[in-house]
């Protein structure tokens, strides 16, 4: 699937992986928290091969968001956000305080939303809860797999603001997978372009804008149309 992919992401950096469907973006992302295992090569997190990490520990310090959000329908908003802290055996008071703080951060008033059920939320609200849940245990790394693909443009841009606010408040190492070049431009420090499992370009948005690689141009053209 992926061949010759070499990419180094610095602490606190936000990198977007862009490409067409089937280019290998999600595969690359899932290698980071061992949702997938590499057949060959190495994935290093904090300078350590992920194969030597305990999978559970690795995942608990890696926030994860996906397009379908995957909120647990049998848990309230507060319980959903508190899942990982609870797995890490935080005490109830600390979880509650953290939940309030995060709901505030993603722009959902805690008093109104804590006790709601996922099926009582709109798509955008669900995705905000997803962001809060991914950040709950204050993981140094956050992975996002096309998190806003299914949202309308207005809601999506609101959520972009949320992510940017978070980025300026607490610097996280973020890896974002998207097929939308504009989203990558808004959120990422660096953008990696994948084509057929290969990394064909990786640079800052400004530099990428000047690239004449045909795939990069195709993606840029598609997003400005």
């Amino acid at each position: 699937m992926l061949r010759g992919l070499s990419l180094c992401i610095a602490d606190g950096e936000t990198v977007a992986l862009v490409g067409r469907s089937g280019a290998g973006k999600s595969t690359a992302l899932k290698l980071i928290n061992r949702m997938l295992e590499p057949d060959a090569g190495q994935v290093l997190v904090d300078g350590r091969d992920t194969q030597s990490w305990d999978t559970t520990a690795l995942r608990r310090r890696t926030g994860y968001m996906l397009q379908e959000v995957g909120l647990f329908p049998h848990m309230t908003v507060a319980r959903n956000i508190g899942v990982v802290p609870l797995l890490l055996k935080w005490d109830a008071e600390r979880i509650l305080a953290r939940t309030r703080e995060l709901l505030d951060l993603v722009g959902l008033p805690a008093e109104r939303f804590m006790a709601r059920w996922p099926n009582q939320l709109s798509g955008g609200q669900r995705q905000r809860v997803g962001v809060a849940r991914a950040l709950a245990a204050d993981p140094p790394i956050v992975l996002m797999d096309e998190p806003f693909g299914a949202l309308d443009p207005v809601t999506r841009s609101e959520l972009h603001d949320v992510i940017r606010r978070i980025q300026s408040a607490i610097r996280k190492t973020m890896v974002l997978v998207t097929h939308d070049m504009r989203e990558a431009f808004v959120l990422a420090d660096r953008i990696g372009v994948l084509q057929d499992g290969r990394l064909v370009a990786c640079d800052t948005p400004a530099a990428l804008n000047r690239s004449d690689h045909p795939e990069v141009r195709a993606l840029l053209d598609a997003s400005t149309r």
């Binding site: 994860y64 959000v69 329908p73 049998h74 990982v84 797995l87």
Partner: protein
């Protein structure tokens, strides 16, 4: 006597049978959940293991319940008469719906939710208990509902192997040909099924609305715990020594079982458990040998041929001597005969007999080719049954004899569905339905003297029982037996009352 009146006069017994019924369903369903849910999880995870297990459960489901009881009876540990065997069968039946719904419930969970659970670093166990099982719960409850309602019905049949429950009324009603008694058991069973279905449906619905989840689970758990404790208290036997009296599943046997029970209570002062209406000679004999039953009444000819597989003998004294020795070898004491001989009687309708001037079996040979016979399956199988009878009197019927339930055979004859049947000489319905026995003029039928059988160890522990039962020896003649049978069959009176009056008159 209408059903409500029956319940009023049998309030304590009805409550006991109802509690037993509920208890059997509850215990078997809970046990099936503890087995079926893990198997269902395995089936969802590893179809290669789970598939065959689910298939085995499907096969078990297709075995008719009476046949399943039959398979289980001779097994050590699992078998024997009483609640244990019934529970094993009920658990086996309940497994399939539970395995199916558990694995279906798990497999229907949105993959995105499972991906989220994995990505958050849940271990397999955390994912199972915090995400998968809670989400599959409404589906699993649906399986529990199916299993429970099915169980309420199946427990009815378990009365045939002495497990108790409301099926006892149904069997008793069938053997007494009394629809009131049948209804006294069938109506609460139907209500129980409806209530169980309704309650579990409510729980299922409530659980599929997440907001109501926690409180529903708490309420359901508390309610079922309370029910379990209540039923347990009701079913738990009062302490102290108890003698178990058994009987087969027809009126005379129930009356005789009641007779032995009351004699032991009255003359020996020992408490008695009644396991009446057991499903036939084979089950009674096995129960006696296995120690599940301490006392029951057998017939000498039946013991000789059906139990000890000896050739038919027509000498009453010789038969009694032969079986007394054989029972003694098996650790069973045969007491003195009660005083009547319940031989087979070949019966025809009184008016037909008069019109055809028919009074002996020898005369039947000429008419038989144009007649239809109806026999119980035991009579067809037994060595001293139909085959020998046909050979002795040269009988050939129009068609092979129709196999009928012993309890329905008299009515079938009276209603003209068949022309000739084999019944009991002491059957009360003979008089009530205007039937007539044909004389056994060639003395084909061996003697069937009614003899109480007691386990020898029981007699050693409670020697007073022998004395109590001796007071019945020779006191129950054929006339007395037929009168008691008719009081129950014909007049629909309670066997316990009929027996009490008889004992008072001794």
């Amino acid at each position: 006597m209408n059903v409500v009146h029956f319940w009023q006069t049998h309030a304590a017994e009805t409550m006991r049978l109802l509690s037993q019924h509920v208890g059997l369903v509850l215990v078997s369903t809970l046990a099936a959940i503890t087995i079926g849910v893990p198997v269902g999880i395995a089936a969802a995870r590893r179809p290669r293991i789970g598939g065959p297990l689910a298939a085995a459960a499907s096969v078990i489901q297709t075995v008719p319940s009476l046949a399943l009881f039959g398979f289980l009876l001779p097994l050590p540990l699992l078998g024997g008469i009483g609640a244990r065997t019934a529970l094993v069968a009920l658990i086996l039946y309940a497994l399939l719906p539970l395995i199916r719904t558990t694995s279906a419930g798990l497999r229907s969970i949105d993959p995105a939710i499972l991906e989220a659970a994995d990505a958050m670093g849940m271990t397999a166990a955390e994912r199972l208990f915090q995400v998968e099982l809670p989400l599959a719960l409404p589906t699993i409850i649906a399986g529990i509902r199916v299993a429970t309602v099915f169980g309420v019905g199946t427990v009815t049949i378990a009365a045939a192997i002495g497990a108790g429950g409301l099926g006892e009324y149904i069997y008793r009603g069938l053997s007494m040909v009394d629809s009131t008694v049948i209804l006294a058991g069938a109506v609460p069973v139907a209500l129980l099924a409806l209530v169980a279905d309704g309650v579990l449906l409510l729980i299922e619905r409530a659980l599929s609305r997440p907001a109501a989840r926690r409180s529903t689970i708490v309420v359901a758990a508390v309610a079922s715990a309370a029910l379990l404790i209540g039923v347990g208290a009701a079913v738990a036997r009062p302490g102290g020594p108890r003698i178990v009296v058994g009987s087969k599943n027809f009126t005379e046997q129930v009356v005789l079982g009641e007779l032995l029970a009351q004699a032991i209570e009255r003359f020996a002062g020992v408490a008695v458990d009644r396991r009446l209406n057991l499903g036939g000679t084979f089950i009674c004999d096995r129960a006696l040998r296995g120690g599940d039953v301490d006392v029951y009444v057998e017939y000498s000819g039946t013991a000789l041929t059906a139990i000890f597989k000896q050739p038919v003998s027509r000498d009453s004294t010789a038969v009694l001597q032969a079986i007394r020795t054989r029972y003694a070898d098996a650790g069973i004491t045969m007491l003195d005969p009660l005083g009547f001989n319940n031989t087979f009687a070949i019966l025809v309708r009184e008016d037909v007999a008069r019109a055809r001037q028919l009074s002996t079996l020898s005369q039947l040979g000429a008419i038989a080719p144009s007649w239809q016979a109806g026999f119980g399956y035991e009579f067809i199988e037994r060595e001293d049954g139909f085959r020998g009878l046909a050979a002795t009197y040269g009988l050939t019927f129009r068609e092979p004899p129709r196999v009928m339930d012993l309890t329905l055979i008299y009515r079938a004859l009276a209603e003209g569905q068949v022309d000739v049947v084999a019944g009991d000489a002491t059957a009360g319905l003979i008089d009530a339905l205007h039937l007539m026995p044909l004389a056994d003029d060639k003395h084909y039928f061996p003697p069937y003297d009614a003899v109480p059988l007691v386990r020898a160890p029981t007699l050693l522990r409670y020697p007073q029982i022998a004395g109590a039962l001796k007071r019945l020896a020779g006191r129950v003649d054929a006339g007395a037996m037929r009168r008691m049978n008719f009081a129950v069959d014909g007049n629909h009176r309670d066997p316990a009352v009929v027996v009490r009056e008889f004992l008072d008159s001794l």
